[in-house]
């Protein structure tokens, strides 16, 4: 079964996400390694994904950005990759190689993750991300924590349904002080077993 790996960019030490057009947002994209992310392992992680999945808001923002900024290191990878946007209202998705998943979220995820190995990258946005957290479908978290106390913003972990320990896989700082954290959600049973009453 393919793993769902959520990427959380622009996370502050106080647990907030950078909302567009805030000082925090500007701070994040002023850091060179965040403006032009060219770390080979990160690019390989994106390149080797089975699929990239988005909620509607993230899809609209990222598709516009990646089709416009063709010199961004992610652009050629994402433009060519298999993409799925989760939305019950979108009727068309113009970004190349994109399909729309309009059904039950858990069933749509199963369609993507069953029948193979590898990983699926979850891009967000926060509403989509929270719906996957509530369904406990995220297997790994990759969090970029910025050296910043935001004070205001969108709280990423809001309404986490229950407390649980994560497995810390790795942590390292970038030259500008972004701490890259990788966590795994420990699983003692398979999803099919968990769903059994």
């Amino acid at each position: 079964m393919r793993k769902l790996i959520a990427t959380v960019f622009n996370y502050s030490l106080d647990g907030l996400l950078a909302d567009e057009d805030t000082e925090f947002w500007k701070f994040c994209f002023d850091l060179p390694e965040n403006r032009q992310p060219d770390d080979p392992s990160q690019l390989d992680f994106l390149q080797s994904a089975y699929a990239h999945i988005f909620g509607r808001t993230a899809y609209e923002g990222i598709s516009a950005g990646m089709t416009r900024a063709t010199d961004h290191p992610f652009s050629p990878i994402l433009n060519a990759a298999r993409k799925v946007v989760f939305s019950r209202t979108l009727t068309t998705a113009d970004w190349a190689n994109t399909t729309i998943a309009a059904g039950d979220t858990a069933e749509e995820i199963d369609k993507l993750r069953l029948g193979g190995d590898g990983h699926i990258v979850v891009w967000g946005g926060v509403t989509f991300w929270r719906s996957l957290m509530e369904l406990d479908l995220i297997d790994e978290l990759q969090v970029s924590m910025f050296p910043y106390v935001a004070g205001e913003g969108t709280r990423l972990f809001d309404g986490v349904p229950k407390s649980y320990a994560l497995e810390l896989v790795s942590s390292a700082a970038s030259p500008s002080g972004i701490v890259e954290l990788q966590y795994r959600r420990p699983r003692s049973t398979t999803p099919a077993e968990r769903r059994r009453p």
């Binding site: 805030t22 106390v149 390292a172």
Partner: protein
């Protein structure tokens, strides 16, 4: 110059204690490794059981900390440390009134009733060339807001709590850019140390 360093364990979602004031989850890393780190010789000390990278980190932290500053809540939760902080350093408690039965003879716990700045000054004097550690969410917030903190030291525990006591709450002077952190990757915990730019 004596540095003032906040020291706190925090969950990935930003909590230093769960909804019942419990700290077992965020403190788990202190007791889940193979290396014993005693905090002081003698009966007042305690012994941590941590992973090798955390042991190095913790030994350094204990060695450089010359006094501890906390709020009343931390003092109460710790039962007054039996009159002697487990790191065997003077502890200063910021409080409105001195609790009944205190100060005690032979105790190295002191109470400061004339405000935070006075408490920081007294802790600095006691620490001498070493650092002052600040413990407790509310006291750390007050130090941050008053521009009294030099470093923010967060032991980021690999756990989601979903609710409880937040480390970063009621902050003035935000947003705030921090300096680049030093990062020590432990097992189940990431030790982060950020320089704080004074507002």
């Amino acid at each position: 110059m004596t540095k003032v360093v906040a020291i706190m364990s925090m969950s990935l979602d930003g909590y230093v204690a769960d909804a019942n004031d419990g700290v077992a989850e965020v403190f788990d890393w202190y007791f889940s490794g193979d290396v014993e780190v005693p905090t002081a010789s003698g009966s007042s000390g305690m012994t941590f059981q941590v992973s090798p990278p955390s042991a190095d980190h913790l030994r350094g932290l204990v060695a450089e900390t010359g006094a501890m500053l906390t709020g009343r809540r931390t003092f109460e939760v710790a039962g007054g440390w039996g009159g002697r902080h487990p790191w065997d350093i003077p502890a200063f408690v910021v409080t409105h009134d001195v609790p009944e039965g205190w100060p005690r003879p032979d105790s190295t716990v002191e109470f400061v009733t004339d405000g935070l700045e006075s408490a920081v000054a007294r802790a600095k004097a006691a620490a001498g060339p070493k650092s002052v550690g600040v413990h407790g969410a509310e006291t750390i917030q007050q130090c941050l807001n008053a521009g009294l903190l030099d470093e923010l030291h967060v032991d980021l525990a690999a756990v989601l709590l979903g609710g409880g006591v937040r480390l970063f709450d009621d902050l003035a002077n935000t947003p705030a850019v921090l300096g680049n952190p030093t990062v020590v990757a432990g097992e189940g915990v990431t030790h982060l140390r950020y320089p704080v730019h004074r507002p």
